[in-house]
């Protein structure tokens, strides 16, 4: 625990120096948020969380521990067919109920290492922080609510309930403009002394496991840019990622929210269309840009107006 406090303190000092203009609340909020991110990899925990969107909800069991010199982690769906993802350091396997299930399911191909360092400056461009000192009980643990209040209408708000003792994330709400909860993740049970063993991360008997191989993505020059972006949003990748022969993908983030942009040639100009699912917005338009007609699709956890404005401000770079 002393070690954890040192980490939190050093993160606090580091972030405070890097964001000299931040208010006291912002500095404390950033430090707590950074500590939350760290807690996912340095703590041992075992718990069940519920993910809800609208009237639908699903529960997942998560386990994480440092056993020997290795980091073990697993996630299992409790409501569906009990598909499980197990990670041991950089090795990830996906466990299916049987081989036929594995052959029909779309393979999981998420990045094996999902953590990235928080970018305090970007976050402060888009959000102000407010930490409530009022203690609330989440999953039987005392928690403090950290609010990320959007500074404009181009992003959603976030509320994180952090464990008062170790800053672990116990609950996360994504809030719409009127404070409506669009997405929620909440632990219903959590233990930070789970006494995990290696055998806890061995696939169950009778299941079928498939090793996930992270394929190095093909990249290409990013030939486009946005004439307008919400404050704090910037490309995560310097180049564009090639998905197939026709489609390139750009990824942007403000430090906590991601926006994906897909670009591909098409033959006809089509007007803007949009769909919203919880906090996720999908917008699309086909536009004539220079000599080409391009279909632009944006997927992100941002309001519809952000997607629309970004689509209309997309333009080819004049110089690379």
């Amino acid at each position: 625990m002393i070690h954890l406090k040192k980490i939190i303190f050093s993160l606090f000092i580091g972030l405070a120096c890097s964001v000299a203009n931040a208010s006291s609340d912002d500095e404390i909020g950033l430090a707590r948020l950074s500590s939350m991110v760290q807690s996912f990899s340095i703590l041992s925990y075992q718990g069940v969380f519920v993910r809800s969107q609208g009237e639908d909800m699903n529960s997942m069991k998560i386990r994480h521990g440092i056993i020997g010199e290795s980091e073990y982690e697993s996630l299992i769906d409790l409501d569906g067919d009990k598909i499980e993802v197990i990670r041991v350091d950089n090795s990830v396997i996906c466990v299916y109920p049987d081989i036929s299930f594995a052959n029909t399911a779309t393979p999981v191909s998420a990045p094996l290492r999902q953590f990235k360092e928080l970018n305090g400056e970007r976050l402060l461009e888009g959000y102000s922080f407010k930490l409530s000192k009022k203690k609330e009980l989440i999953a039987g643990r005392e928690a403090e609510k950290l609010s990320l209040i959007p500074k404009d209408a181009y992003r959603f708000g976030h509320e994180f309930w952090l464990d008062a003792e170790n800053n672990f994330l116990l609950k996360h709400d994504t809030l719409g403009a009127q404070g409506k909860v669009l997405d929620r993740v909440q632990f219903t049970d959590i233990s930070f002394s789970p006494a995990l063993k290696k055998s806890d991360f061995v696939p169950r008997l009778g299941t079928y496991s498939r090793h996930l191989v992270e394929v190095k993505p093909k990249m290409t020059d990013n030939k486009w840019h946005f004439e307008w972006l919400p404050d704090g949003f910037a490309p995560v990748w310097r180049d564009a990622r090639i998905l197939n022969e026709r489609t390139a993908m750009l990824l942007l983030s403000d430090g906590i929210t991601s926006i994906s942009v897909f670009v591909e040639p098409t033959t006809e100009v089509k007007p803007y269309s949009v769909m919203e699912m919880g906090s996720t917005t999908v917008g699309e338009v086909s536009r004539s840009l220079q000599t080409d007609i391009l279909r632009l699709t944006i997927v992100g956890e941002v309001p519809e107006q952000t997607v629309e404005k970004m689509l209309m401000s997309f333009a080819p770079r004049t110089t690379l």
Binding site: V37, F40, S41, F49, R51, Q53, G54, E55, D56, M57, N58, M60, I62, E73, L75, D77, D79, G80, D81, I83, V85, C94, T104, A105, T106, P107, V108, S109, A110, P111, R113, Q114, F115, K116, L169, D183, V185, V236, L251, S253, I256, T257, S258, S260, F262, K270, P271, Y272, S273, V274, M275, E276, M277, T280, V282, E284, V285, T297, V299, G300
Partner: protein, 233 residues
Amino acid sequence: MNTSEETLQNERIALSLSDLVDDRLSTEDLDFLLELDAKDLDAKLNAYAITKQVMGNATEARLNMAEFDLLHRVRVGIEDIVPDAVDTVTDETFEGNVTHRDTNVVNLMQQKILADAKLDNDNASEKKGNLISMKSFALAASVAFVALLGGQLFLSQDAGFSSANLDTLAVASVDQTDDILASPQDIKALSLDVHNERLQSYLRQHTEQATMATGQGMIPMARVVSFSLEDEQ
């Protein structure tokens, strides 16, 4: 006109119609046919006018305009001479008489109607664009999105055109067909499948890559796992 004159005229009509079909119709015979047609048209219009005058506005009389169509009359004439020769012409010419043997035409019609309807909708809703494809995608996306992400879909209400309208249009266009290989729903689904797959692929890519930026351990992976689960179902 006595019986022999009538017979002669009928024979000439038959020969003229046959020449018309064979593309050997002389100018004289063409004038003859048109004159007959005009006489017949006059007679029917006169009869219609008298009928309408008698019945006044109380009853709405309807004419079968097809009977006034020269092509229709040619078809009837040929049918009198060579009954079996007509079907081919019918199926390829008259949309209103589409039979089960010509599903390709039906399909083309449906596709055109769907395309036209979609184009109209595109033009009508410049601001929000059309949500026909997105709505279809929403249904398909529910496959990928509902379970773990939860799947409450909020479609914009101002699209002004729904897939139900589209269905009605398509059904109305083919209501005389008995045995259509592909239903309007099937065609719509087929035409949008590629679109849906593409959008779902983008949604998946976004979800997978976004896990990098959240800093919440494996929690965001719940979304990715959900894609696999729902794809299987």
